[in-house]
């Protein structure tokens, strides 16, 4: 089964996506990741205001079977977290790129986005 990989996003090898808009970015986990995790039953997000470095473990997503660490693909300060996904973790499964987003950050260095995978490259990684 082929996973959805929207072309307007950037990706980390560790299966997070980033939607960059100027100095801000929204982060979540990919369709491939939610499919691998299966039914998500709990999401733990970083505190608002926390400064994150690219690659830092900052959230936890738990399925029926396992707990998995989530890493921010890009550095910045957390400006918003998705309370809806904390209240209803199944949103990660039903709408990973939309209502299932995790958190927003103000970017420390927007140029970092260039280090992330394009949709084409990430698609090759997961749909090979």
């Amino acid at each position: 089964m082929s996973s959805k990989v929207p072309s307007d996003l950037r990706y980390a090898k560790t299966h997070e996506w980033v939607r960059v808009a100027g100095e801000y970015a929204t982060i979540g986990i990919t369709d491939h990741a939610q499919h691998e995790l299966t039914d998500v039953v709990f999401v733990e997000l970083p505190k608002q205001g926390r400064a994150l470095k690219a690659g830092e473990s900052c959230a936890v997503v738990e399925s029926v079977k396992t707990a998995s660490d989530i890493y921010t693909p890009i550095s910045g300060e957390v400006t918003a977290i998705n309370d809806a996904v904390v209240a209803n973790p199944a949103l990660v499964n039903t709408d990973p790129y939309g209502e299932g987003w995790f958190f927003k950050i103000k970017l420390t260095n927007p140029a970092e986005a260039q280090n992330l995978l394009s949709a084409e490259d990430y698609g090759k990684q997961v749909n090979a």
């Binding site: 299966t38 738990e62 029926v64 079977k65």
Partner: protein, 374 residues
């Protein structure tokens, strides 16, 4: 190379997600653990349990031998009856937990955990060699020759007779009974047993016949909501029902008394392996007890190996052996060992999850019990 059951190709065709389960390539889920769990609670599910082991113990000395090797009272079994039982070492630790069926006089079938097949058979062989009546007892390890499926859920009794027509309807089997049934010209075993907390049957057949058995169940059960279910749902279902799982609640340094399955230890039997330690534990109380607990507020799901603390957080009591977010009850719950001082129902506890402690409470077992029927 992982071992595969005779149903491997069926799992592949159904697009199952396959995992390494104790050296076996097994389906953890077909669609979703939550869906499959709920399907078994509300309708019916079929599980491949072909990885489990089948031993036959036969001969005029078989009953007496098994009664000395296993904890439950084998003499209570008439032909066609089964019982849950355990096999202990001299220290009272559990070698394995298993189902024992009496197929006829001097003819017994043991269904053991997949991960314990080699250890169990070696253990039984060791006991056999030392047994005074060894020549009147024969042990056969036939796990590779048999396949098995479990069909579980409230709707199963509605289609089992259509799937396996027989002179005496299969649905007339009482709980823990087993019968031989003719299927496609060969004999298969059908028992009214399971590991989900629902009504259901376990079907054991010669390995080449298990795929036709699986197909027949799916065909007959289709209109009753029967779906293939993986080991993920099997685990959440058994945990809600507080059935222990070897390697989690049970191991060779934990006793059945500590694990809360003393009901299946016939301490009044003349002699069996581990009896001295188990009698002592029963009389004086064990050093630890398996408790069922529920999280009392919002928290991450409790999981195996997380520490269990006293309510005030001052004393580390033990660790979780199995934990999950309960699909049926919608709360975090689990099993774990604590000192008897903290094992009473309603005792407040704390569970440590990633450095934070969350409140929990000891509850009566099981978490889930079906409302009526068998």
């Amino acid at each position: 190379m992982l071992k595969r059951t005779p149903l491997y190709e069926s799992h592949q065709a159904l697009n199952a997600k396959l995992i390494d389960f104790g050296g076996w390539e097994m389906p953890v889920q077909y669609t979703s653990i939550l869906d499959e769990h709920n399907t078994v609670r509300k309708a019916a599910g079929i599980f491949d349990i072909s990885h489990m082991g089948e031993f036959f113990v036969t001969g005029t000395g078989a009953q007496e031998f098994l009664n000395s090797a296993l904890t439950n009272d084998v003499t209570k079994l008439a032909p066609g009856q089964g019982q849950y039982t355990l096999m202990c070492n001299e220290r009272g630790g559990v070698v394995d937990d298993l189902y024992l069926y009496c197929l006829g006089l001097g003819n017994y079938l043991l269904i053991v955990n997949a991960s314990r097949i080699a250890a169990d058979f070696a253990w039984l062989q060791g006991l056999h060699e030392k047994h005074p009546n060894a020549s009147k007892i024969k042990l056969d390890e036939k796990s590779a020759s048999y396949g098995a499926v479990a069909v579980q859920g409230p709707n199963v009794a509605k289609f089992i007779d259509a799937a396996f027509p027989s002179d005496v309807a299969v649905s007339t089997l009482a709980k823990n009974e087993i019968r031989m049934v003719s299927f496609r010209g060969e004999l298969i075993y059908i028992a009214r047993t399971g590991y989900t907390g629902e009504d259901g049957f376990e079907i054991i057949s010669p390995a080449p016949l298990i795929a036709p058995v699986w197909e027949e169940c799916l065909r007959s059960g289709k209109d009753h909501g029967l779906k293939p279910c993986g080991l993920g749902a099997r685990d959440t279902l058994r945990l809600e029902s507080c059935y222990p799982l070897y390697g989690h609640e049970l191991n060779d340094t934990t006793s059945p008394i500590e694990a809360g399955v003393g009901f299946f230890v016939a301490l009044d039997k003349p002699q069996f392996v581990g009896a001295e330690v188990l009698r002592e534990q029963k009389a004086n109380g064990p050093a630890k007890r398996l408790v069922a607990f529920k999280m009392t507020g919002k928290s991450p799901p409790p999981r195996q190996d997380y520490a269990i603390w006293s309510a005030d957080g001052s004393q580390k009591l033990g660790a979780i052996t199995s934990g999950t977010q309960s699909p049926t009850l919608g709360v975090g719950l689990g099993l774990g060992y604590v000192p008897p001082s903290h094992a009473a129902t309603d005792t407040s506890l704390q569970i440590e999850i990633r450095g934070n402690k969350f409140p929990a409470v000891v509850v009566k077992k099981p978490f889930y019990k079906r409302s009526a029927g068998l």
